[in-house]
Symmetry: C2
Subunit: 214 residues, 2 copies
Amino acid sequence: MLKLYTLFRSSAAYRVRIALNLKKLPYESIPKALAKGEHRTPEYLAVNPQGLVPAIETDDGLVLSQSLAIIEYLNELYPQPPLLPNSALERARVRSIALAIACDIHPLNNLRVLNYLRDRLGQDEADVNAWYRHWIVEGFTGLETELSRHSTARRFCHADALSIADVCLVPQVFNARRFKVDLTPFPTIAAISAHLEAMPEFAAARPEVQPDAV
Amino acid sequence: MLKLYTLFRSSAAYRVRIALNLKKLPYESIPKALAKGEHRTPEYLAVNPQGLVPAIETDDGLVLSQSLAIIEYLNELYPQPPLLPNSALERARVRSIALAIACDIHPLNNLRVLNYLRDRLGQDEADVNAWYRHWIVEGFTGLETELSRHSTARRFCHADALSIADVCLVPQVFNARRFKVDLTPFPTIAAISAHLEAMPEFAAARPEVQPDAV
């Protein structure tokens, strides 16, 4: 069975859980509590030198890291349901939305970054929370315009089909809610996310229902 | 002719310039000086709502953003030379290396992030430079182990062939040098980058030879 090195609250692990559920692939969760430094032990660094979650390990002991690389891999091996559209142009649009979240919003709000702001730059919780919200609002502002152009039905990020963009959107909206970002200016994002969150494959991937949730 | 919305110093635009050169695609550079806010004008936001560089515009007026989405698109349309390996597993490894740079190093060192640290959190240049170097050293530490496992010839990031990982590595090494990161602990990264930088397609993409370089 596939092993998933995960953390219930990790947005990138949440993406991979959604993809595994959509592809109906059973997996074993191996939680790594980042707050306890479990991602930096020699044992885990031997598995994943990048020292982050998520990573997956196959029955053959092959390890893959980076959520979007894992999801593209799962989509290539298990094509149903497809997580990328049929045309190169549409694939580029879907990847662009996924990357706008995975490169331009999420990395700035990672636990290790918030810890640096607190511990090394001496920022207080109000400043850290303002930082967190700032990058979500910046990213969502552009995304709202893009999604409203291409998602007229407001069910999925691109056209009227599931994609890797949807897999990235829901965990990011979860983070936005957790940090009390006002979603009123982002009605398309909120509507798409609400539709997706009601799907069982997305619901089963939620942080609070994971075995390591605290 | 393809249009490239670019900035000479943007690491993400640098990646796309390398890919365009490798694919032997002529393009017109349309510089956007981020320091002057040229990426936030209503005109540019109409083109690319994400308000960042790079973006490409086709002859049909179609616009695509996010460097890795653009590069995957170019690689699908113009397969030679291939920027992804033939097997799903190897493609995942190459994408993982590219994303380790594009998600876990570069976004933390973007101009807008450094400006936030300076202007809103009141950090001085020494703190900003320490931040910049910290994320490169963190990322390069894991990458060095990964590359040394899979790049025995030290010519390319994965096996002995060009890939999107190489396209991401060289601009990141350029940034590391610019901020005086000691590369001694990263001999595999340094050797691969030196080999790639000598290739004409990489050399022609360097920031200092772009039309908008200052």
